[in-house]
């Protein structure tokens, strides 16, 4: 409360501004001494930026910035900026926290991963600029800001995916990502324009008031579906997921972690905001029943991704499909918003799952980064016997994968359980069944990796000499968070529910 009194309102954007400032500081540092680039300093600046941003976010959450105060109605308290084109509320802060946490882990891991990489300053600054974009997405309250923020995420991402310039896979993946991304952006922009045509406004609240006015017709429905398509690209939901396996596999592993965790979270926050708040279901339903559309998306996404993951031979590609599958799980948070459901609970479950997912999925990709750092190869059988050589790191990987599968070793168990409850709350039996069946399927392919790590005999020439501090620290942090979220899930889900309460 003191925050509001002492800080100007624009300070509510501090998490995003910090990222931007750190990015520019990096470019400045690189401009000062371009030749003998100092990796420690560059990583240090990035890490500090991410930590400060995370600090701001946590501080705001604790202080109750942008959230209803004691006695307020549940939708009060949001801080609106720039003619309400940006908004800072519980939802945006919750997602800023996820994004900043992932950035911390990714930067930590990148320090080791980027050894001898020639363009470190550019790499870090691109990461931070993308993070800026993601944080802006969480606060977007107008289609304009949303689109610009999304592009601010996408453009650095394309570059980051192909940042291993001499690696054919990396470059090819970047190009594919860019092409599909351009197509999706076009669809997204077209959808926005159609919504503008029918409602005459781009600002969310204004659109909402028109939507509540009554019948809108097919053009509006078309716009809604196209916006859904644009967002589905960002969260990598089937059939807009084709870029994901390619991009994740080609990209440097920390970037795969970054895109699959943070970028996905940014996509989801936009989805939550646009569909729950703007295209309010009870008014839009006669034109386009988006709950059913998302139910279809969710089930198809879960099923296709998990079954495709079954037969993958490369770990990173398998994780890519797993992350697509998780997008399907989180979509339950929207697909379960049927008329009778407790909307805050359903939405909050999805948010909480994204938080847990941010740690466990990032952790899993960082283990792959570690394996790439050691140069052990990309296929599952290349991981044979890693458990004996690197027991600690492999133990964290066990935690990540089992938590992703939903075993009670990490927060993934409870969050998936809440998603199940949410699908039951929404009375969509098919979602619940799909969730359970796919979780069972996923256990199979996660276990394949763990079997290779722990049970198989290593190849004769497997010899690990270095245990990089940064990567290990990132793995340890992620594992700690994943495990701690099991007992600490209660407060997290409360926070998510409160934030969701403001929207519904």
């Amino acid at each position: 409360m003191a925050t509001i009194a002492t800080l100007p309102e624009w300070a509510a954007l501090a998490p995003a501004l910090t990222f931007a400032a750190a990015a520019f500081l990096l470019l400045l540092a690189d401009a000062v001494s371009p030749e003998e680039g100092n990796p420690v300093a560059l990583a240090g600046i990035s890490l500090s930026g991410a930590l400060v941003s995370l600090g701001f976010t946590v501080w705001y959450v604790v202080e109750g910035t942008g959230q209803p105060r004691e006695g307020d109605p549940s939708d009060a308290g949001a801080i609106e900026l720039f003619d309400a084109t940006l908004v800072v509320d519980g939802m945006s802060l919750f997602f800023s926290a996820i994004i900043a946490s992932v950035v911390v882990l990714v930067v930590l891991a990148s320090y080791d991963y980027l050894q001898d990489h020639p363009y470190q300053a550019e790499y870090y600054s691109l990461v931070l600029l993308a993070a800026t974009g993601m944080t802006m997405v969480t606060a977007a309250n107008s289609f304009v800001t949303a689109f610009i923020a999304i592009e601010l995420v996408s453009l650095p991402s394309y570059a980051l995916v192909s940042s291993l310039k001499h690696n054919r896979g990396s470059v090819e993946a970047g190009l594919k990502y860019f092409l599909i991304g351009a197509l999706s952006s076009a669809i997204f922009a077209y959808g926005i324009s159609l919504v503008y045509v029918t409602t005459g406004s781009l600002q969310f609240d204004a659109v909402t008031s028109v939507v509540e006015g009554g019948e809108l017709g097919g053009i509006f429905g078309l716009g809604v579906l196209m916006i859904l398509g644009g967002i589905a690209f960002k969260i990598a939901a089937v059939p807009f997921h084709f870029w994901a396996p390619e991009a994740y596999e080609g990209a440097p592993a920390p970037i795969s972690a970054f895109i699959s965790s943070a970028s996905k979270a940014a996509g989801f926050v936009l989805a939550f905001r646009v569909f729950v708040d703007v295209f309010t279901w009870e008014f839009v339903e006669p034109t386009i029943d988006w709950v059913v559309a998302i139910q279809i998306l969710a089930i198809v996404t879960m099923t296709v991704a998990n079954f495709a993951a079954l037969k993958q031979e490369k770990v990173k590609r398998m994780l890519a499909y797993s992350s697509v599958g998780h997008a399907g799980y989180v979509l339950i948070a929207l697909a379960g918003l049927t008329a009778g459901a407790d909307h805050a609970f359903v939405l909050g479950s999805g948010m909480a799952h994204l938080l847990v997912y941010g740690f466990m999925n990032t952790g899993a990709f960082l283990y792959v980064a570690l394996a790439e750092y050691w140069g052990v190869g990309r296929r599952i059988e290349d991981y044979n016997g890693l458990g004996a050589q690197a027991p600690f790191a492999s133990a964290t990987m066990t935690v990540f994968l089992f938590s992703l599968a939903g075993l009670p070793i990490g927060g993934g168990f409870v969050s998936k359980y809440y998603l199940l409850l949410a699908s039951i709350e929404g009375e969509v039996a098919l979602l619940a069944i799909a969730l359970i069946v796919n979780s069972v399927v996923s256990l199979f392919y996660y276990t394949r990796v763990l079997w290779a790590i722990w049970a198989e005999n290593p190849a004769a020439d497997l010899e690990i000499e270095q245990y990089p501090t940064g990567l290990y620290a990132a793995l340890a942090l992620a594992a700690l968070a994943t495990v701690l979220l099991l007992p600490a899930f209660g407060p997290v889900v409360d926070l998510a529910n409160t934030a969701a309460e403001m929207l519904v």
């Binding site: 599909i180 197509l183 579906l225 089937v238 807009f240 029943d289 495709a308 399927v441």
Partner: protein, 681 residues
């Protein structure tokens, strides 16, 4: 003052500690952990005696819930807990179990240590766990807890019978004991669940107990859930019979008695423990424990009595032709437990408990005596290889003789008093209004003759006459650790009958029947309050009201005279047949009958056929169903998933134009579907 009952849990925990110590430290301790076991069972014995003294002094009874592992919702559901119940019956049983176990531990020094057996820590650990399980079973305050320790007792017997597991016979005998008793335990388990379903509790004592609840229902003062459309009393009978399944298995009653003779493959002290105080006694004790429940159902009582009487008789016939010392004793055990069942079924609660007590003493004595003989004979158990041991091992002989006379039911040894009381109680209730009991009584009388015959035959063949082998000529001496338990038990076998001189109650007066008074709680100050449900006079009332057991007038002395005469007939016959220096194997004259008896009426054969000829083919069909259909289904799902995975994987061609096309196609599809549904066009 310290409430001594707070120490009650320690009675069972001492042997548990001994188990842990023997298991982990036994190999580093002198005597392989025996001393820990002796100290522990000694401690249990002292504490048990203290409990008895406390109860006799007018305190208690004591019931305490120690640990609730599932707490039911207030007023609903069931509560599962561990608790203690120390009343006259359980206190008496605690003394018996800890005393026998203590003596068996001492005896084991001679039987196991002095014979240089290996694996002693395992042996003493097994004894400790066995004793622990039985003691905990005895003071359980609810049926579920009793069931758990009942099963643990079964497990321990498996471990100990199969102590020499490298040999074929003990391993197989252990398995048999486990499986056969398990067969009965299935029914017991169903019974426990059914009692939970019916009454919502399995407590033995107190206003809330299922025994009290069942009685209240029959008095028309309460309600209970019945199943299968049965009436209240019929359902109570079903429950009682289900629990009885476990009793028949454990107490080796016909037709589940077949495991017990095989169990002789275990070390002899273990046999003593199994037969006298643990395992086998557990079944009969359980009936006594919930006697108030059985007393409600004349049908259940009748079945108990008939099974008991029949078992007593059949087992005695089989004992007649056995050549090995321990085999004779094994069948005599089956027979004697049959008497106890007969007593309980015939309305003789005190008689049943009395015979349980005296039998514990003299059967432990006989087994330990047999163990002593076996040591002397270098582990040859065939009685036809013995003879003439009387003068060479006098302590064993005289104590063994005392035990044998007690078993044969000769005045004034302990067995006479208790067996006579069993028969007397059955007779007076049979003459009352339950003529069916007279059939059991007739079996019991016949068994008296046979018991005396095979017992004295055993004594004569073993100890009298001329030595028939070189080993018998010069047997190995035994030490104090063998003789001490024999002497203690020998004395008890002579005097234990004084607990309840029922035969001469007309002479000494009813109030001097100590065991009767004890079980009636008359020694306790005042009324037992809510615990009054566990007293003899209450049982008698229930028997009269609900089971229709009336007692006819019959002079106790006359019955005693009949029993004694019959026993003496048996003794005389044995003496006539097997006296002299060179007794002949008279039983061979029985010809075909002997063959049937030697083969134990082909009980084993048909049970083996049941297992291999009937159960095994059914199991094979079930297995085929499981492997073919269930597993096949699961495998098919897995295969289908993998194939589907392969298909889904192939969508990802790597060609970016394909992706763009599919993406656009997907969007168009969505638009088409929702456009048509929403009526946009």
């Amino acid at each position: 003052m310290v409430d001594v009952f707070n120490l009650a849990p320690a009675i069972a925990l001492f042997p548990l500690f001994a188990f842990v110590i023997a298991l982990f430290l036994g190999s580093r301790m002198p005597k392989g952990g025996a001393l820990a076991g002796i100290a522990a069972t000694g401690g249990s014995l002292v504490l048990s005696l203290w409990m008895v003294a406390e109860l006799a002094g007018g305190n208690g009874p004591y019931q305490e819930e120690l640990y609730t592992f599932i707490g039911g919702v207030e007023g609903e559901g069931v509560t599962l807990s561990f608790g203690l119940l120390i009343d006259p019956l359980s206190a008496l049983m605690l003394v018996i179990v800890s005393l026998i176990s203590f003596l068996v531990h001492v005896f084991s020094l001679g039987y196991m240590n002095d014979e240089s057996e290996t694996g002693l820590p395992r042996y003493y650990a097994g004894l400790g766990l066995f004793t622990f399980s039985m003691l905990a079973f005895v003071y359980s305050d609810n049926l579920l807890m009793a069931f758990m320790f009942f099963e643990l007792v079964g497990l321990c017997s498996y471990l100990l019978i199969g102590f020499w597991f490298r040999e074929r016979a003990p391993a197989s005998a252990a398995k048999k004991a486990f499986l056969v008793t398990r067969f009965g335990d299935y029914f017991f388990l169903i019974g426990v669940v059914a009692i939970f379903a019916t009454f919502g509790t399995t407590a033995f004592a107190g206003d809330e107990s299922f025994v009290t609840a069942a009685e209240a229902v029959l008095d028309g003062e309460g309600e209970m859930n019945t199943f299968l459309g049965l009436g209240n009393q019929a359902w109570i009978t079903v429950l009682g019979l289900l629990v009885l399944g476990g009793v028949i298995g454990k107490s080796a009653q016909f037709p589940l008695h077949t495991w017990l003779p095989d169990a002789m493959e275990g070390p002899t002290p273990v046999s003593a423990l199994i037969h006298a105080a643990t395992m086998v006694a557990a079944g009969v004790y359980l009936v006594a424990r919930i006697y108030g429940f059985y007393a409600l159902s004349p049908t259940a009582l009748g079945i108990i009595a008939l099974i008991g009487g029949f078992t007593a008789f059949v087992a005695a016939t089989m004992a007649l032709v056995k050549q090995e010392l321990k085999q004779v004793l094994a069948y005599s055990t089956i027979s004697q437990y049959g008497y106890m069942m007969l007593a309980l079924g015939g309305g003789g609660y005190v008689a049943g408990v009395f015979h349980l007590t005296t039998h514990a003493v003299f059967k432990a004595l006989l087994f330990l005596g047999a163990g002593s003989v076996i040591i002397a004979m270098h582990h040859n158990e065939n009685m036809w290889d013995m003879g003439g041991l009387k003068s060479r091992m006098p302590v064993t002989y005289w104590t063994f003789l005392a035990g044998s006379l007690a078993l044969a039911g000769i005045f004034p040894f302990a067995g006479f008093w208790s067996k006579d009381e069993v028969l007397y109680e059955t007779l007076i209730h049979g003459l009352g209004d339950s003529p069916l009991l007279l059939v059991g009584f007739a079996f019991g009388l016949l068994a008296v003759v046979l018991t005396a015959l095979y017992t004295i035959r055993m004594v004569l063949l073993t100890f009298h006459g001329d030595p028939r082998t070189d080993v018998a000529e010069d047997p190995e001496p035994v030490r104090w650790n063998v003789k001490f338990p024999l002497v203690v038990l020998g004395v008890l076998a002579v005097v234990a009958g004084a607990l309840n001189l029922g035969t001469i109650k007309e002479v000494i007066g009813e109030e001097n029947l100590f065991l009767h008074e004890w079980l009636d709680g008359a020694t306790l100050s005042g009324d037992l309050g809510e615990e009054g449900a566990l007293s003899v006079h209450h049982y008698e009332e229930v028997l009269e009201v609900h089971a229709g057991y009336g007692a006819a007038e019959f002079p106790a002395l006359a019955n005693g005279a009949i029993a004694l005469v019959l026993a003496l007939v048996g003794v005389a016959a044995a003496w006539y047949l097997y006296r002299g220096a060179e007794p002949a194997p008279h039983m061979e004259k029985l010809g075909g009958v002997r063959q049937v008896l030697v083969h134990n009426y082909y009980q084993d054969e048909y049970q083996v056929w049941l297992a291999t000829g009937l159960t095994y083919p059914i199991a094979r069909v079930a297995n085929m169903f499981d492997q073919g259909v269930i597993d096949g289904l699961v495998d098919a799902v897995g295969t289908a998933s993998v194939v589907a995975g392969e298909r889904f994987r192939k969508i990802q061609t790597g060609v970016v134009t394909n992706y763009a096309a599919l993406l656009a196609l997907g969007l168009v599809l969505l638009i088409l579907v929702f456009g048509l549904a929403g009526g946009w066009f």
